[in-house]
Symmetry: C3
Subunit: 344 residues, 3 copies
């Protein structure tokens, strides 16, 4: 479905530079675009590809518009504007209402007639599937779970008993929502399983990546607020609460009963210890380990970065005696009569 | 099924403080409990909620019993006692013997008549399913695998060829037991796959979390002993051995041929390098990296914790010259005639 | 199928020491081998088991051949030679052409008559399944995906739309190839989903471990080259490119648009930040964090190792003041008139 630049400019509030009747029908990277493609420029590292682009049009900001050799859609936030246009050019296939003959839907499941239940999907008795929901192939919605309108379980998603999922969510393959939290009471050298009687409540517009797991609450629910975006292979423990519009990158883990604020940005492989709080507007760079509450917005880190292995090993060996080294410096300061800062 | 406090006190060996005929029928957190609920107090951080609780009864220890405004079940280990009572109040649904019509059971599978085979589950020829086992919806038990009595594959669990699983285990969705270990022999700049001819042996009372993977042995088996509890997204390599009653938190990884002792506590995101040993009774705090054998019981760590990013970066830059800094201190000690400790 | 040592020696170019007519029919570890078994010795730590082995024959190198108490197949690379013989002794079961009656194959899927489609597998319209491909039980191949000859989806593998997989690959259970990359454009305090219109291209002879995820490209493809071997629970972001014969151990994560060279060895739990490059022949030890491009072949590290927790905590506390400590040393050097190295 080719679209006129004039129409895109109006619809998305861009300033148009170039032929209003030019047509775009797909997106492409600046350096690989061919006529008919729309590209974008948001990251300065790709600016060098602008001059040579063969795209029909480029979404970019006012600062780079003058350099654009082809038509331009000028927007204050080119990446978001590009995303919206790309959604239009590459729409989701329409939802085909009905059940695949191989799907298994138990009596007592409530399925909206506009929903789509895919091949080999399973919907248990007492589950509720809302309007235009897609239960993709091989997905499983267990008893009492509720999936709200326009949510899409892409395929092979597991939604356990009584989990509630809001509107317009996307859940990717292999994600498991509402498995038991890890509750183990130590007793006489062994462990007693603590029943996990809570559930999971997921708001609207939440994305959940492939093979991500979100556990049900021990007592009370695990809560993921509206607009949260979660990447692949993230683990979220029981009774965690994640605030609105927080993003969590791949392989991060949030331990049980941690509370994460709104608009946080949690980098890849970040670990958050349980039973603590992170306030709103905190950014954690990749692989940060959070082991006590964070009460000030800001950026936090804790990961050392790659170094040549031999040098790293030497420094790491010194680290194991760092306390001693500090004491030696203190002693030198005493001997020299130099005023050191308080090192306790 | 409401239960009398007197009955609970007798059954679980608690001292009862309050009305023996009071009834509880569910569990709830102290601060949200309503009449009919049983709460518990084990973690001192929740003690502040005790005075205001509306629970019918609270499980707690002798030290806090006097503060309890409602009936109390006094136990030396309130968390374990709570767990046992919660199991009674919130029992697993009974196992419905038989096969769902959509399940696929090959000729030559041996299935105990009391077992339950769920929707769209698959049991291959030569697999053995014991008494009261639940093969939940979408689970797959491949040839020669053996699942012992009262074990529950919650749903979408994969049990590969010849894997043996003991009694009373719980395996959560997405777990994969017995996929090939990562055996790759380098040869002339490429790799030759090393066939993984061993299997996996899992003892009794083992819990395995969602999307956890336990690989089959290269030669000989990977062994998980009785009572081991494993959280979500844990990776256990080929020929690993885990001792009795060890717990492993989410996202930990144990590399091939490592041997972990009994009663260890392995924190979230811990990494254990292959071909080493960890003795009994070792605790590894979250994200510890173990790269040589640990022969003394105790607590071990290696993760730096979150700091304000700019400060962290400055310190990390100094770390990259830590060896040099130590040499400079040594030189100062020489110049000052101060006796430093041996820093080699 | 017992094999004569003479035949193995000829076929794999080994020097034979011992009875050419002796037969082996299975592999076993040196210390557990019984007559009829073939063992191998490649790792010096197992040399102590050689003298007592009861194997019929051992694959080893010239340096250890003289110590071998039984027949020996002497090879320059015993591990690779062992791997090849083990493949012969423990072959994959032959591919049974045809479709399991419970498989769901949509009209418009192209399936080679020699391919095997397992129980409860799903192949969408427009998918192409090549000769002798195994689509194991519960696997799912979505529209437009193409699986080339002799590739094996072990079971419960998800291959999303338009993904292309080369010849002789092995994909383990729970792996998800081609789920959406994590593209989220921030806009006014919330996020707009960036459509992921690229796909995934996987070369020949690639192994992919259980529960590993490889995302489709945002624009353009994610590319995994020939001979790449990937362990379990690895996460590979959109538009990543991995070069030939690189190996990636368990739980590693490669962020979007990173480019990894050929013949790299990426250890377990390694993290690679997005939009950077790692050149050919780089080894990253376990849990290394790469946050800027690596342009020199070599070995790189960044993980501190386990230490007794109390000592670690003391050292970590000093680390938080390491910059200050360095300044104090500088000051001492000034006071002493000692020439320190430049510490800026």
């Amino acid at each position: 479905m080719p679209l006129r630049l004039a129409e895109l400019a109006v619809r998305f509030g861009c300033e148009l530079q170039g032929d209003p009747d030019a047509l775009v029908e797909r997106v492409a990277p600046l350096q690989e675009a061919t006529p008919g493609s729309l590209a974008f420029l948001a990251n300065p590292r790709y600016r060098r590809f602008l001059a040579g682009t063969r795209a029909t049009a480029v979404v970019l900001d006012a600062a780079t518009a003058a350099e654009c050799p082809v038509a331009a859609l000028v927007a204050p936030n080119p990446y978001a504007t590009y995303a919206r246009i790309a959604q239009l050019l590459h729409p989701q296939p329409p939802v085909t209402a009905g059940r695949h003959p191989s799907a298994v839907v138990e009596d007592g499941a409530q399925i909206d007639p506009t929903a789509s239940i895919g091949a080999l999907a399973y919907v248990a008795a007492g589950a509720t599937i809302g309007p235009r929901v897609v239960v993709g192939p091989g997905s499983m919605v267990l008893a009492g779970a509720r999936i709200s309108a326009d949510t899409r379980l892409v395929g092979r998603v597991t939604v356990c008993e009584n989990v509630r999922i809001g509107e317009r969510c996307i859940l990717h393959p292999g994600s498991v929502i509402g498995a038991d939290g890890f509750g183990q009471a130590p007793d006489a050298g062994a462990y007693v399983k603590v029943p996990q009687v809570g559930s999971v409540e997921i708001g609207a517009d939440v994305d959940i990546g492939a093979n991500t797991t979100i556990d049900r609450g021990a007592i009370g629910d695990t809560v993921i607020a509206d607009g949260v975006k979660i990447d692949n292979q993230v683990q979220i423990g029981h009774n965690v609460r994640i605030g609105e519009h927080t993003v969590i990158a791949g392989c991060a883990g949030i331990s049980g009963s941690a509370v994460v604020g709104r608009r946080c940005m949690i980098g890849g492989m970040v670990g958050v210890v349980g039973h603590l709080e992170i306030c709103d507007d905190v950014a954690l760079t990749g692989r940060t380990m959070v082991s006590s509450s964070i009460r000030q917005p800001g950026v936090y880190s804790s990961a050392l970065h790659a170094d040549e292995a031999r040098r790293f090993r030497r420094n790491a060996a010194r680290f194991q005696k760092l306390d001693e080294l500090a004491r030696r410096v203190r002693k030198l300061e005493g001997a020299a009569g130099v005023q050191g800062e308080d090192d306790e």
